[in-house]
Symmetry: C2
Subunit: 152 residues, 2 copies
DNA sequence: GGATATAATTAGGTTGCCTAATAATTTATA
DNA sequence: TATAAATTATTAGGCAACCTAATTATATCC
């Protein structure tokens, strides 16, 4: 079985395995989990200043996770003072989420570290190779998505 | 902060995020977790026929996980009949792990699906692009590993 | 022979998700 | 207009994939 393995496929599998172990999302800050950081980024990216905030369901679809996942992350972030919930004035079912000042300040620091690390990576790989990588990963995603649909 | 972001780094981050969601290691078989499959592959790859088997510590270092992780995975796999433990004849502290016939047969099936999927990916990307991807991912791993060492 | 190191194991824990169920609210339909 | 259906957020419980601390027995070193 493994003898007839395509060596390129094998090599690709090994690089995926290695990459899997990388934990590139690792939080640069104690007290903030990587999943929480991703959520804070999502709020920051979406919510303008003086805005009513973003709904749980919008975060959920933006991050492509279930809304209970978002709820529970927000519970923790609210407790720690990074976000605040307010009621939606137009829909009594909904909640609006905003960054607090503490949240904004912390996210500023996190962004620094996080994006510097990605800038460094682009520098390390070169711009052309970085774009290439992004493109190839996107193709991988497309491939697996499509073959998994077929199997259902 | 996000305005000054390098667009290539941003693009790379997005492709990493997307890939993160992919779960490429997903098990093709009900009743076997992806971590278990990786462990079975590790045994298969290492243990020759009629061999005394592989030690827990060797699996642990091969997969780069803690030995309690390996122990607990083996507990489950032994219960399900995929592997068996025997005592090491030369070292009373050690245990030797081997695939059972059931384990071998099942792994044969899993390999088929799993490797076919990777073969398909190589075909989809092309051989040159596949090799390129493997190489780039390896560089990413190297980059993050080295910058993380510096931060400690 | 005693100190130190090693091997596997158990227990408990964290993170990052998921689904089922629920209550309240909004929207759609007859 | 009343009812059914859909939507929103939440809580509870669960799983997978790991980790560390502690422990016991064994092997190795000095």
């Amino acid at each position: 079985m493994e003898k007839s393995r395509n060596p390129i496929a094998q090599k690709l599998l090994e690089s995926f395995t290695q990459f899997h172990r990388l934990n590139w999302r690792q939080s640069p800050i104690v007290g903030l989990k990587s999943s929480e950081i991703m959520l804070l980024f999502c709020i920051k990216r979406t919510v303008k200043s003086d805005s009513v905030g973003i709904k749980v369901s919008d975060i959920s679809s933006a991050l492509k996770v279930a809304s209970p996942t978002v709820t529970q992350l927000i519970n923790g972030l609210e407790t720690s003072g990074f976000v605040e919930r307010t009621m939606d004035q137009e829909d009594r079912r909904a909640v609006r989420v905003n960054l607090t000042d503490k949240g904004k300040r912390t996210l500023e620091k996190v962004s620094d570290v996080f994006y510097n690390s990605f800038d460094g990576l682009v520098e390390y790989l070169g711009e052309e190779e970085s774009s290439k990588l992004a493109e190839l990963l996107s193709k991988v995603f497309t491939y697996f998505n499509e073959t998994r649909k077929e199997n259902f």
